[in-house]
Symmetry: C2
Amino acid sequence: MDASENIEEAIEVLQQLGLKEYEARCFVGLTRLETGTAKKLSELTEVPRTRVYDAIRVLEAQGLVEIQHSSPQRFRAVSLDEATETLRDQYEDRVERLHDALETVEIVDEDDEEPIQQVWAMSGQDGIENRTEDLIETTTDEIVLVIGDESLLTDDLVDTLQEVENGIDLLLGAVNESLEEELRAAVPNATTFISGLEWLHGENAEADETAIGRLLLVDRSTILVSSIVPDTKVEQAIFGEGFGNGLVVIARRLMAQGLISPHDPIS
Amino acid sequence: MDASENIEEAIEVLQQLGLKEYEARCFVGLTRLETGTAKKLSELTEVPRTRVYDAIRVLEAQGLVEIQHSSPQRFRAVSLDEATETLRDQYEDRVERLHDALETVEIVDEDDEEPIQQVWAMSGQDGIENRTEDLIETTTDEIVLVIGDESLLTDDLVDTLQEVENGIDLLLGAVNESLEEELRAAVPNATTFISGLEWLHGENAEADETAIGRLLLVDRSTILVSSIVPDTKVEQAIFGEGFGNGLVVIARRLMAQGLISPHDPIS
DNA sequence: CACTTTTTCACTCGATTAATCACAACACCT
DNA sequence: AGGTGTTGTGATTAATCGAGTGAAAAAGTG
């Protein structure tokens, strides 16, 4: 049965959410038990009986578990919806506190440096997607976006694209027809095309099969290119700003040659 | 200046959100620096210079920081909005995974026990509030809610109260006039009153000044009573279900004597 | 009052994290 | 080129924290 997989998954996730192993095990144990004593819980979860109490106390303080002060004590988990809601509240609260604390701070005066040719790297699907959406939202003239893997076309991204103002040129490229299809359907106000992005798989196709992720060129002055590393599926991106930026220049050159757009060159 | 307090706060919160100390310090450092090298960061944040690199790497992998691969390397934080959004996404994803994993599991068959006189305890404002709202939403006939501290009257709670169906009696008590005022304004479809809840401060007023938090009686069969411990401000609650439950019986008795409601007794 | 079960608490061991150090690679200067 | 300070990596030590164990107090049971 894959129930035990789910149990393990739940325990892992709870730990990522900040619980200790015993706490996670106990909570999951309780969700399967309706109501339980330390003994039953210990048997079910492999947590040493003598430590169940500590774990439960912590869980209770977080509002995830109720305690019946009888003897023996009975424990039970709050409903799944209540639990997730509580966790959400907790996290939302933290993120907000972080936001408040940082927005008032900012900026130590700076002996500035050369603002030239900056190319930045970032990784992680979430962060790159947020940056992508950010850039799209601040565009004034033109967006060129090529999607190289359908896993990157999230609902959020589609939403962002649909809300692009009418005055802005929106060019959406895909690496194959089915994806183009999808794009056209999802974002009717865009011009779609099949990208000539063989330059990654094509002539440069050496050993490592680096898959292209996305390519975003905004107002011909800011570019973001990402790739997906074959093994780990991690998305990595580089990001350049400024009309004179080397990366951006290269991107314009590519466009001029019709490689990433169906349009005529504008050198 | 309280800027440094905010900085400490931010570092703490980031750790609660799962970052290590060095990672948190580096991130906060970068939000104050526009762009920084390992050396500058180390000076600003007290993180050993040689450890800055590791910290930045994990931040980068989380999408919180960008790296410029020059020499020396330059780092910069993504915008505050991007960062919080990324953190939110991350968390939301986890909570969802938890939900999915647990909803398919549930329930180990049980040699049932006596379902009598159960009184449960829980603590933590978040959890108690969620339970309160849950109970309000599932009411069929009557809600009696007494609020003992204005800090408990959150927007969420007000929303929940406003959405109570018309057929349901909604009685809202407060411990003083200003709070009653507030309640009446926020929830017009309710009957409000000043509660006679001296039984906590009054005759029982021993040494410890236990402040009453909230008292909720739903359909005369489920009750939740909370108090706020003086020092730590932590809210603690007890919770009983079932018409025959001891706690519930006591609550009905109190009502019958007009102590927690302006209405006539229904024994 | 013996005798079990439940509960708390203090302690060991191992793993993770913070902190320091040694060294190789590199940029910069004359 | 060669010297000099800076930059990045890896190894090493020290401190901290959590998992696991056992002793003993407290509560129940016959």
